[in-house]
């Protein structure tokens, strides 16, 4: 066999994907180095949505900053709010009353379902299946209606307050959640019928974008990606917060760590969220929804790192207080940012068409990557 280079195999092609590309769900630019169809190198260019959230945090009071966190991962604003409230509560020594904790769990799990549904619809669209988008949007609408009824907003909800909740539940909340749970399970079976056994879907995703457990740890990857690689890591179980230890639910894991496994994990997580919802909605304690929190919130000098299991992975807040009205430092540990870092590893040797599927199953939100 001749080893002489021909003009065909000697050149590498550099392809620019984004920042305006439909599959990146925002403004992500990926520079791909290609050898024919094969990806031999990737570089992410991010920051197009950078708004300086951490700097804003240093210039707002603790209470004023709360709505800003909704605008990072705007798909799961409730989880963002929960993490922020828990972090400030830890720093200030407050505990939300049991009623507030249970309602927080219900809204957070509803948001997890909404986030996974939006992911499923848009990801299916990316890889060529249009129908699931309409289905998932329909079910997600039910969740958004519950949010709208509860706090008036659908997306950037600002549902929680430091120390509990601002609003009491509305009449019929429990019933609406019960109806949604029932409906969600039947609809999930419908999705699975459409996709899980679908040969095109399975072949499109199996073996694409593999990342193993060791690489997940090396790259700081968390959330469904890590569980798809076989690590049963979920902060709701490992370090329970907001009363998650009271609920009976499982952490689904898979072994291959490819795109198909990530799909299966997210579907299963919706089922587990429904399980939590069904338990929580039957045992909402009575009592106040707000702890006694100082009107002028000034946590003592100190620092705390608190994280929650957001739909995308570990979302953490590291807050330093200097005893004044404003946080001295407001650091956000965004799951999407660190998950995206592993893209280079996952794309090694993949085909150029698979990059879209890999970015899709990463489930990143650029608002959170860039902050």
């Amino acid at each position: 066999m001749s080893t002489a280079e021909t003009f065909l195999d000697s050149s590498e092609l550099v392809l620019n994907m984004g920042p305006q590309h439909p599959s990146t769900h925002g403004v992500l630019r990926v520079i791909l180095k290609l050898d024919g169809e094969k990806v031999i190198g990737t570089e992410c260019v991010i920051g197009y949505l950078h708004r300086g959230v951490e700097k804003i945090g240093e210039n707002r009071t603790y209470v004023m900053f709360a709505p800003y966190v909704d605008r990072m991962d705007y798909i799961s604003a409730v989880s963002n709010g929960l993490g922020y409230c828990l972090a400030v509560e830890q720093l200030g020594g407050y505990v939300a009353p049991p009623r507030a904790q249970t309602v927080r769990v219900i809204l957070t799990e509803l948001n997890r379902i909404a986030s996974h549904l939006l992911w499923l619809g848009t990801h299916a669209l990316d890889v060529g299946a249009i129908t699931p988008l309409f289905y998932t949007m329909r079910e997600r609408e039910e969740v958004l209606k519950i949010f709208e009824n509860y706090c008036g907003a659908r997306l950037t909800t600002h549902a929680f307050r430091i120390g509990g909740l601002q609003y009491e539940l509305y009449d019929g909340f429990e019933d609406q959640v019960r109806v949604f749970c029932e409906r969600m399970l039947t609809k999930l079976d419908e999705y699975e019928e459409l996709l899980t056994g679908n040969r095109i879907w399975v072949n499109r995703l199996t073996g694409v974008g593999i990342i193993n457990a060791a690489d997940c740890k090396r790259y700081g990857v968390t959330g469904p990606l890590m569980r798809a690689a076989g690590v049963a890591a979920d902060l709701r179980k490992l370090q329970p917060y907001s009363g998650y230890e009271q609920y009976d639910f499982d952490i689904p894991t898979r072994v291959n760590g490819d795109s198909f496994d990530r799909y299966v994990i997210r579907m299963e997580e919706i089922r587990q969220s429904v399980r939590i919802l069904r338990q929580a909605v039957e045992r909402i304690p009575t009592g106040p929804v707000m702890a006694k929190v100082a009107k002028v919130l000034k946590p003592a000098i100190g620092e705390a790192y608190v994280s929650v299991e957001a739909p995308k992975g570990e979302l953490g807040y590291f807050i330093v207080s200097d005893g004044s009205l404003h946080p001295y430092r407001m650091r956000v540990r965004p799951p999407s940012f660190l998950n995206l870092q592993a893209l280079t590893e996952m794309c090694k040797g993949a085909l150029v068409a698979d990059v879209v599927a890999i970015i899709g199953t990463l489930d990143i939100v650029l608002g959170e990557v860039d902050r």
Binding site: G47, R218, G220, I301, G323, R329, R331, R333
Partner: protein
Amino acid sequence: MPEEPKPAGPPTQMASTLWEGDLPTTVKAAFGERLLESACYVNQNFFVVQADAVIPLIEFLKREVDFDFLVDLTAVDYPKRAERFELVYILYSYSRNERIRVKTSIADGVVPATATTVHTTANWLEREVFDMFGIRFAGHPEMKRILLPEEWVGHPLRKEYGITQMDNNWVKENLGIESGQ
């Protein structure tokens, strides 16, 4: 004769308590004087070490105690201190289900060693610290900005950087407008 207890007011520094246990003892035995403090605040444990001991400590914790996951790496700016930047490394161990922090202080202009040799995660995190604070890391494979444009002048999370401040020249040149405000 014991002094009169002072009336309780807000503390003027972090009211941390001593962190006692096997882990601080092990680390103390290995690092001696280079370990400045092992403390606990709101049930969260942290080590404070000399700047040159950070990377060896993180490696030690990874190798000997199984703290195999770097959760986050960030900095805090204290302009009035002689060593103005505090670097914070948040570590997690899946086998122990435990989270700790490692902290150190460095002066402006000092180039600390990179943590990418121990945890690949540190790559983007250190780039962000450089972008926001202007701290360069020695031995980092790709020490450049990550969120702001490469030509941007200034590091926004430094305390002297104003909330409405921006690199007006960059904005004029690239966006064709007078100001983003």
